[in-house]
Amino acid sequence: MKEMKLFLGPQHPGMSGNASVHMYVDGDIIKRSYLLPGMLHRGFEKGMERHLWVNNISLIPRVCVVEPDTNEMAFAMAVEMIAKLEVPERAHYIRMIILEFARLSIHLMSYGGLGGPTGLYTLMYHAHTDRNTILNIFEKITGHRVYHQYIVPGGVRKDLPVGIEKDMHSFLDDLESRYEEYRDLGINNLSIQARIRDTIMLPKEVVWELGVTGIGMRSAVNKPYDLRKVKPYARYDQIEFDVPVSDYSDAYARVDCKLQEVLQSISIIRQCLIKMPKGDVRVPISKGQAMRWTVPKGYAYACVESSRGEFGYFMVSDGGTHPYRVGVRGASYPQGLLGVEKYLPGTRLDDASLWIDTMGVCSPEIDR
């Protein structure tokens, strides 16, 4: 039979985000496939050069929509590295709480997103309900639901509101009590297992070739290669947590690791709430007007562990009021572009959107 060309996206229910997978299929089997990025290109890197250091704080969360806090963290870390700012102890813990809540929210979203390609909409609704609770907690802390602009160079914008610990604990207890239910509804469900077991593999040998990081890599190489462990930032070296790994990188292993990370995140937040000291949450970044704040000359590459892998900011300052160059390493750049091109062929038409979901391809950070 002749090869037929099909599109997954940009407007397609199976595609999360605005990108397009061009597939050449023979029957149901994908023969060649390419990702067409660029639909979300906004000229971010150019835009950051044109904004003041302080103004950039409001621009950066918009790089990746689903997980804005890692952007803020990486940006803040890069600026702190160049400007040699010392972050107060309490701010480190607040940052970790925010980052772990963000991780919970995106893991819930992508676990619920598993319901999209497989048709299990009940899972999607349940997961989004819990995610909405997280967004409400964020709104209480930061004043915004999605783009928080909370982690700023030198600390966090303001202290946690009084009594927020109660909300956090009640949500975490609730989520933990329903963790088994989530597993039963999702990956222990036989019809879901039929879809995600032994399929859409990312072979162990080629992980390095692609440069895939995060869960996609850990579920293949069976080693705890997590930036929070390997290269601890904030105060992750003072918190006890495990990094779930696997050596059989099918979609099931990836989703399983994701769910185990949910439990780890819950435990990290609880430890942070206990260990958090009192004190300042921000050091003043400049004397006088923040608008005139200049950062000394220098280069820095700061990276954090996002839910999809290493998320990095490469930053160059020429000593002025604006950044000279900011480069963004999107965490899902390798698995989105190279992964689709090299490892999707051979799978079935039905698997394409599962690849996008379980690998966590986030198109805005590819395009920027």
Partner: protein, 196 residues
Amino acid sequence: MTNSMSNTEFVTNLVENQYKVLKTEVLDQYQIAFEVKKEDVHSILSLLKTSGWIQLSYLSAVDWIKDNEFEVVYIVFNWDKAVHIQIRTRLDRESASINSVLPIYPGCKYYEREAHEFFGIKFPGNPDYEKQLILENWDDIPPLRKDFDPRQYSDKKFSHMEYKNDFVNKDGKVSKQEAREKRFSDADKLRTGGKK
């Protein structure tokens, strides 16, 4: 801590013993930067890859328009010895071209394509580097160069929202906004010494 300090020392020894490094910067215990000559980039990268820096984290460029140079940056990472290494090299801006590192790091394929698209640096050896990846039907100089002005381009191509002036200045005073703008421009003049 001592362990990771020795990591950066290990890297410094590894690279500086074999190659002439223009400048070494130890940014912190997890990051180190080398500025090298264009000819050495490939051999340093293959050396690093064989010594365990198997992941290419990032590849991009910086436009130093005053020096009339592009700076290409390779960032590699080793998961066992947690050190990010920046390898930086300068290229001439007019005929910017550097051989692709595709044989060493296959993951660079799309980074190089993007660098070509946004800076116009040529990467011979990468099969598709000249094709457009992010932009479509682009009709100007590569957008991340410093001499490209997005505001101008945007004004030329896209119409802006026009707002009506549906208010009147009753008592004839200078409006606050005008006063503020004047103050800002004065401050700018003071700061830059009257230039621009």
